[in-house]
Structures are given as C-alpha cells and as structure tokens.
Symmetry: C2
C-alpha cells in the first residue's frame, strides 16, 4: 500500500489559514488528524503553523506514531499533563498570534479549558478548514475508495451466492462482515443494516432475529472500510419470494429517482438541485411523505462527510467529490426500498463507482429446493 504525501496536504492547509484569520490551527477531529498525518489512533491533536507541526499524543501511542508518521515532530505528554497544558506550551514556543480551533470537533469544555491555558495567542473558532481539503479526493484517495467498494461488492456477491431462507438478519450481517474482511477490508464501514420485510421500512434498523423467509423483501445497506480508512456505502433490495405489484412499483420509482438524480451530477450543480430531482419523481409517484431523509452525503475517511445532498444544501459540486445517491420509500409496517450507489464527480459529469446490478430483475434471488 502506497502512502499519500501528508506534507503536501499540510502545506495546503497552511495556505488556507490566512483567509480564516489565523496563523496556526489546532486539529482535533480524528479523521482530520489522520488525513494530515496518517496516524490512526485517537486522543491526539495536531498543531500546525508555517514553521511548526507537532502531533500531541500520549505514551500509549508513541511507538505507533513512530511507525505511522516517520519524521513527524511529536509531543508525548506525561500521564499527569492535560491536553490543554501540552497545547499551551507548544503554542507559546511556536510564538503564533492566533490559534484556530475546529468548531465542529472541539467541545465547549475543551474550548474553555484551552482558553484558560493558552495565554500567548488568541483562540479563534474556524469552520471546516481540513474538511474543505478532504471534500476533493485526489487520485490516491479515489483508488482507495475503489478498493473499499471492491471489498463491499465482493462481500455482497458471496452473500448472494450463499444466502439461505432460514438465515436471520444478524447471521447475514456477520457473514457479510466476515466476507468483506476476507477480501482485505479492515472491517465494515458501519454497522450493516440487514432488514427483512417491514424492518426494511426503518432507514436505520439494527439487524435482528427475523429470518429471510418471513418476507419476500430483504434490504441490505453495507460498506467496507479499507485498510487505509476509506469507506464505501451501498444499499440493495433483494426479493426472495413473490413480489407484489406495490413492491415492484415502489422499487421502480426509487430506481428511476436515483438514476435521474445521478444524471444531474456534474461540476457547477448546486447539491439541493440533485436532491430535488429524486424528490420530485418520488413525490409525483405519490410517495413524497415516504422519503424522509436527504438524498445523499459525501463519503471518504468518514462515512458521512461534506458535502450533503439535501433539500437545503447550497454547496456546489466539484470534480473529485464522491457522494452517495440513496433515495428511499418507506411504508411503515410493510416494507421499504432504498437504492444507494457511490458517485464520483468528474470534470465532464459523473462516474458511478459502484457496480452491483440494480435493475428490478437483478434483485430476484431464487432458492433452489
């Protein structure tokens, strides 16, 4: 596995500091720290300024940092020294005037504690400086996303080949997780949703004890986390028995909404306009109130990251963004359908990175006697 150039990423971040009104930044979001250093542990913050870069951690991680971040300056605080104390000392030594902190990651308590300790620089709350870099994936990251998608897709292929009518949702969930690991995933990208029948009508259901043959509909929402931390996210519905007209109609409506929304994706388009395409088709079919969530979200090191594709999303699509497109229709107490793919915004439009078949006929699973 090759490694991205973390120094280039940090240089880009440093160039963005001036417009945020700061000359240094304290990065406390875990995925942001990973993006900028390669460090995969937690409880560690990165201080960056033009002249100084220091990862502030504790002794549990000293060896790991040496392995994962060769050459990076590190401050290993002792067991009695707080994060704020360690930060204050570094800020003082770095002689910076304004210390940016991450509004989306620092808690109020952490902020107060820093304000009490850091007295050589002014604390300024910043918004998504590292996230703005992360939203555009470079070639290395796109390859890693393909890897995470490949692991998820090979996993579902094994599941499809091995599924039995007497399996429970939970058994399927664990089998899918194990299968993705067999193909090299670090693990599932999130707790897979495996829902039989009316459980599929819950957009965030936990896999439970229902068995496949209880219903003719099965929804699986799953993804893999690659060894480098990138995540995929897909949803497919399978029919394991007789399909009602209603089920087919709902399925075709969701698929049509999804495909039309994907066609809308290209650089310059406002995110909410992509959502509106899918939402319009679902509303026209009479299911407007049955689609209660946004159309999709950015994906990368985090399963949900910038941007959002929702009715209020004013961000503009740019080449290198990767988003999920996942409309759904949920009929409470009966069944639900959601179809989800991962889509790269390209210079010319879009590329669907996920390739699990999604036509209605592809959704049929027949159990041979």
């Amino acid at each position: 596995m090759s490694v991205p150039d973390f120094e280039v990423r940090r240089h880009k971040l440093i160039r963005s500091l001036k417009s945020a009104g700061v000359d240094s930044l304290l990065v406390s979001g875990e995925s942001n720290v990973r993006y900028l250093t390669g460090f995969t542990g937690d409880s560690s913050w990165l201080f960056v300024s033009r002249r100084t870069t220091v990862l502030i951690s504790d002794s549990r991680y000293s060896t790991q940092i040496g392995d994962e971040c060769p050459g990076l300056d590190t401050e290993i605080r002792g067991v009695g020294k707080s994060m704020s104390d360690a930060t204050a000392a570094i800020v003082k030594k770095a002689a910076v005037a304004q210390l940016g902190v991450e509004g989306d990651h620092l808690t109020i308590s952490q902020h107060t504690s820093l304000e009490n300790k850091v007295n050589t620089a002014q604390l300024i709350v910043t918004d998504s400086l590292t996230e703005q870099l992360r939203v555009i994936k470079d070639k290395w990251e796109i390859d890693e996303m393909r890897q995470a998608i490949c692991q998820a897709e090979r996993g579902i292929a094994v599941l499809r080949a091995s599924i039995r009518p007497n399996q429970t949702e939970t058994e399927i969930r664990y089998a899918l997780e194990a299968s993705m690991r067999d193909f090299g995933a670090a693990g599932p990208a999130f707790e897979p949703i495996v829902g039989v029948g009316s459980t599929a009508a819950l957009p965030h259901a936990h896999a439970g004890s229902r068995v496949i043959e209880e219903s003719s509909l099965l929804l699986v929402d799953w993804g893999a986390e690659s060894k480098s931390g990138y995540r995929s996210d897909l949803t497919r519905v399978f029919f394991t028995g007789s399909v009602t007209k209603k089920m087919q109609n709902v399925y075709q409506t969701v698929l049509e909404a999804q495909q039309a929304a994907i066609q809308k994706i290209k650089p310059g388009v406002v995110c909410k306009d992509v959502d509106a395409v899918a939402r319009g088709i679902i509303a026209d079919a009479g299911y407007g109130r049955r689609f209660g969530h946004g159309l999709g979200h950015g994906i990368g090191l985090d399963i949900h990251e910038a941007v959002r594709l929702g009715p209020q999303s004013t961000e503009i699509l740019k080449p290198g963004m990767i988003v999920t497109v996942e409309p759904g229709i949920y009929l409470e107490g009966r069944f639900g359908v959601r179809i989800e793919d991962d889509v790269l915004v390209t210079r010319g439009g879009f590329q669907v990175l996920t390739s699990v078949p999604r036509e209605f006929d592809d959704a049929m699973i027949e159990f041979l006697a």
Copy 2:
C-alpha cells in the same frame, strides 16, 4: 430482558438542575440520551424540564423510538428542519428561563447555532449532570455489567480452548468477537487488542498479521457489549512458549501492583490514592517510567466514563461505582504486560466482578503436539 425505570432516572436529573442554575437541560450525549430514555439510535437530543420531556429526532428513527421508548413525547423534525430550529421551538413552548447544555458533548458549532436560534431562554453550560447519575450503578445496571462480563469470560474460555500456534492476531480477534456474540453479546465492547510479543508493548495496538508462535507472549485486551449496551473490559497475558525470568518478573510485578491497588478500593478513598498504590509498586521494581497511563477508569454504557483512577484524580470512591484496575509495564521493542479486572465499589470495600484466572501459572498455554 427487564427494563430500568427511565422516568425515575429523569426525575433524579430534574432534581439536580436547580443546583446547576438551570430549569431545563438539553441532553445531547448519545449514552446520556440512552441512559435517560432507552433509545439506542444516534443524532437525537433529549429536552427535559419539570413539566416537559421531549426526544428530538428525525424520521429515520420514528418507528424505533415508538418501540424503544413507549409513552415518551417525541418531536420528529422534517428533512429541512435543523436540530437547533426544532430545539428552539420546544424551548419556547416549554417556557423555561435557563437552558442547560452539556459542555462535554456539544461542539462549539452546535453551541453557536443554538445561541442563534434559542432566544426565549438563556443558554448555560453544565458539567456532567447525567454522568453524575451514571457513575453510581443501580442493581439492574450491575446485573447488566455481570452479563457483559460473563459474555467476555465465556468468549476467552473458548479462545483458550481453541488457540493454535499458527493463528494470527487478527484471526484471534475475530474468533473472540464471534464467540462473545455466540454467548449473547451485541458485539465487542471495543476493538479487541491482540498483541504478540513486542506488539504487546503498545498499550493500544491493533491486531495485525503476527502469528502466535512468533513469540512466547500474547496479550489480549477485550470486552463484550451486552444487548442493553453495558460493557466489560479485561486484559490478560498468556505465555505460549518459554518464559524468560524478565517476563516472569514483570508479570509478577504487574499482578502485585494490581492486587494491592484493588485492596485499597473502598468508599471514601480518593481515586489518585488507588493509582498511587500500583504506581509505587511498579516504581519500586524499577519500572516507573514503563507505566505511562492511568490505573483505570469508570465503565458502563461507555467503555471509558467517570471516574478516573489516575495520578491527578481527586474524585472520591462511592458504593455502586464500577472501575477497571489495569496497571501495565511496557518494554518497547520487547514485550508488555497488563492485567485488567472490573471492580465494583461496595459499602464494605470492593467486589472483583471478573473472574478469569490471573496467577502466573494460569497464564500458561500449552499446545499439545
């Protein structure tokens, strides 16, 4: 599975509001919301005042909330309505004067957003109001902790019985996770640490590709999460080959430090004094600089929660607290030893809830040819 009385818990919380200078509280910490309502999802906040209790969530969770929290008032915000908007409307309707927010859980951005929207009440940052209730476990919770411990202990017994010299750390990790699930766990309480030889010297190592027979020492740090969300946390070291004098000496030192620290536990004792007992024994043996973390932590719905047993911890032990006691000695590049048990503070002193054998002779694993 019986259910605790969430209303009693909320009443206790409401009684504590006055001393914090507020007449209502917005609970945003996920485990706090679960503790007060039984709801197991995320992205949902609980508003409580003397007269009003409302869980603020979104449509993905409406059915689940109906199942998990019968009778609880719920505000399901629409896809275009922000959490702050929904909260502001509830605060206005409840006609409260001071809205407490959780300093340890709300981010700076969320706080700012609430400040912009809530204009009928003053926002006041509070510290650990729900956590102060959670730190003392009631009988129901202690039973759930015993459950999580039982699942972890049956899991390690299967692992011990089935371990083979050519297994990798990762294979052992997954086998242990699967085994705990077989005994009814919702899953592992955290990513289990399985470290062979020098990997055991990293207190937070990820299981990797090392095989058991590469070294004669294996460290496993694992726990189960029960179906109700309570977590156990244990560490044991196993010897799978010839043991050096150094290994034995380090093991005996850690065990002595752990047992002496546990003996110190009883109501009224200051937490740092428990840490000091273990730290003193390890320092006297010449390994003071090799024990770089605190002695232990509270455990319950979260794997790390109040209180801490560290060199600076000024909290006082009380009956009903459950803490881990886990001293360690880490010899970088060579090996590490940590021994960890979960201990209940009782009226008379302590009760060790975990029972996996921990004597030096118990740590031997022999592979029959």
